[in-house]
């Protein structure tokens, strides 16, 4: 395009103003959005006497690591090392189980034909709408009868079934893969598992990563299940430990709580920062268009 004097300059000027306004708005609003997170991080580095006197400030006047040292010592003689280890076990194995089972099931529903498939698929979709409150009580009684309270079994075993939301998402991905690829592999002598393993899985990696990220942070943040099943403080996950640690009736050391809260957020953020490209692409391309 050739610039045609005045109108176009005023147009670019207008566009420039809009751009400035846009970025200004996003930054200011974004600051308020992120303020709670920044505030807890800042507070965790403030000495105890500054946390509530210098309350809005995001820059500690003096920096200290005392809160981390005191917080990490935990409570009842159990350091946060234990809680983080428990959370990593739960979130790590939980995610592995969920994603593996979801991928297998998604392949079964998306590519294979068998008796009763429609019925099971419908039931699976219906579980999407099921509040966990309906299952949690009989599940608790069942695990209590099995003598599995205060073990990780009640947390991990239900993960063997995958999760309807992930199954559906991975299915949408698999449906986008041309069937000719399956046929070619089949002619080359692959059985169904071979097709799943060699052809489908590598192609649905974005969906698997998306499912893994979601699963990881659902599990890391999960509070209800550990709260119900784990009563021995040695088995507490970070979320249950934080709740006990931050019990409003007993607490005095806020700096330590903010320090541990900050640390509790780190694993999720690390996963998010490393994989967010997959996450946003995974959702955008999963064909969630109703």
């Amino acid at each position: 395009m050739i610039a045609v004097g005045r109108p176009s300059t005023s147009k670019t000027a207008k566009e420039a103003i809009r751009t400035v306004f846009y970025h200004g708005f996003v930054w200011v609003f974004g600051f308020f959005m992120l303020y709670p997170i920044l505030w807890v991080i800042a507070s965790s580095f403030k000495p105890a006497d500054q946390i509530f006197t210098n309350v809005t400030s995001l820059l500690p006047r003096t920096w200290t690591l005392d809160n981390y040292v005191q917080g990490w010592a935990g409570f009842g003689g159990i350091p946060f090392t234990t809680f983080f280890k428990n959370s990593l076990i739960y979130a790590g194995f939980g995610t592995l189980l969920t994603v593996t089972a979801s991928a297998l099931t998604a392949y079964g529903f998306a590519r294979l034909r068998f008796v009763g498939q429609k019925l099971w698929f419908t039931l699976m979709i219906m579980t999407l709408m099921l509040p966990i409150q309906v299952q949690v009580i009989p599940e608790y009684i069942m695990f209590a009868k099995l003598g599995w309270l205060n073990t990780f079994w009640p947390l991990l075993l239900p993960r063997v079934g995958g999760q309807a939301f992930f199954i559906f998402m991975i299915m949408q991905f698999i449906r986008g893969i041309p069937r000719e690829l399956d046929d070619a592999a089949s002619i080359d002598g692959c059985n169904e598992f071979g097709i799943f393993w060699r052809v489908i899985l590598p192609l649905v990696t974005p969906a698997l990563v998306t499912a893994a990220i979601f699963s990881f942070y659902f599990t890391w943040n999960d509070f209800l299940h550990p709260l119900i099943y784990l009563n021995d403080p040695h088995l507490y996950t970070v979320s249950v430990a934080l709740r006990t640690f931050a019990d409003p009736s007993t607490v005095t050391n806020w700096g330590a709580i903010f320090a541990m809260s900050t640390l509790a957020l780190i694993p999720v953020f690390v996963v998010f920062i490393f994989f967010q490209r997959y996450l946003i692409e995974g959702i955008s391309t999963s064909g969630l268009k109703g």
Partner: protein, 328 residues
């Protein structure tokens, strides 16, 4: 059809029996094999579904009609007593219903509007927009955690950043969490703050709206607001529908934030006694598992009714593009 598996050829050559029964049994065997393969693949899910969904649901349906204490192992059939008590003799139950409806009816629409507004804001190819999306999504990945709920409680406490900020405008210090009228709003605000997943879904939908539609409308003289109402909203209705159902279920089942902010009690004056929290108290504090199971089924019934209502109404407001299947 024409491609014949090699093993089958060799077998029919090897067995010189009359052709027909062999073909039938081989077809049967293949069907059997196919079914077996299918079931092997869905086996993990099927096990999980039966053991941790179907059977527990039947269990809780049964428990709802009993008085069961998990500690003393006492089980007594009480018929409809639990439901009767819930509906007529438990004022706390109704306060929890009221709190939950106030929460869901405010938080869900606000959260969806917020998600859509920000999806619109980020649906462009400006510089840095990719980073902006990630930054605005960040609260959502931690929003449901105990850590954030603990922080939230302190943000709105007496000696808190929110009060300090408002004091600069001459607004006096206020105990937001001590007043039943404002306590629920802090939880609503926390729910709004985690708008990320509906935002990403809207964003995906916005990208799929063909640009020509907007160009044509602009030529016809439609302003931005008119284009939004006439094009964006109708084209997004399938996703609004999808998000509405998911968020409604979320709204009725929120637990962690209300638990942490109220210290597990639902205080002040039961204003934070959301349904899931009361269910937890009944089931796992008072160990009245029969009553809690009855509450769970009442919740399921309400969610089912709302889902049905949204589905029924969808015919009149959800627009599906005909022929949109062929782009996949």
């Amino acid at each position: 059809m024409s491609s014949v598996a090699p093993e089958r050829v060799s077998r029919s050559v090897a067995l010189p029996a009359s052709a027909r029964p062999e073909a039938v049994s081989s077809a049967r065997r293949r069907a059997w094999r196919r079914n077996l393969t299918g079931y092997l693949f869905i086996a993990p899910w099927l096990f999980g579904f039966l053991a941790f969904t179907a059977i527990p649901m039947l269990g809780s349906a049964f428990l709802a009609f009993t008085d069961y204490n998990v500690l003393s192992q006492n089980l007594k059939w009480v018929g409809l007593d639990n439901f009767q008590r819930m509906l007529f003799n438990d004022p706390r139950y109704w306060r929890s219903v009221q709190a939950t409806f106030s929460f869901a009816l405010v938080a869900v629409p606000l959260r969806l509007c917020f998600a859509l507004a920000l999806a619109m804001l980020f649906n462009n190819s400006r510089k840095l927009v990719y980073g902006y999306r990630a930054a605005y999504y960040a609260p959502s990945i931690v929003g449901a955690s105990v850590a954030v709920a603990v922080v939230w409680r302190e943000l709105f406490g007496k000696n808190s950043p929110v009060n300090a900020f408002l004091a600069q405008f001459g607004i006096p210090t206020y105990a937001w969490l001590g007043d039943p009228a404002t306590a629920l709003w802090t939880v609503i605000l926390l729910a709004m703050w985690e708008f990320g997943s509906p935002m990403l879904i809207f964003l995906a939908g916005l990208r799929q709206i063909p640009g020509q539609l907007y160009e044509a409308a602009a030529i016809d003289g439609a302003g931005p607001w008119k284009r939004f109402i006439r094009i964006t909203i109708p084209m997004l209705t399938p996703l609004i529908f999808f998000n509405l159902i998911l968020q409604m279920i979320f709204g009725f089942t929120v637990f962690t934030s209300a638990f942490i902010i109220s210290g597990g009690t639902g205080a002040p004056l039961d204003s934070l006694l959301l349904y899931s929290l009361y269910l937890y108290q009944k089931g796992f504090k008072d160990f009245q598992m029969g009553y809690a199971a009855a509450m769970a089924w009442a919740l399921l019934f309400v969610i089912g009714a709302f889902t049905a209502l949204i589905f029924r109404s969808s015919a009149s407001w959800v627009h599906y593009e005909s022929g949109s299947e062929d782009d996949r």
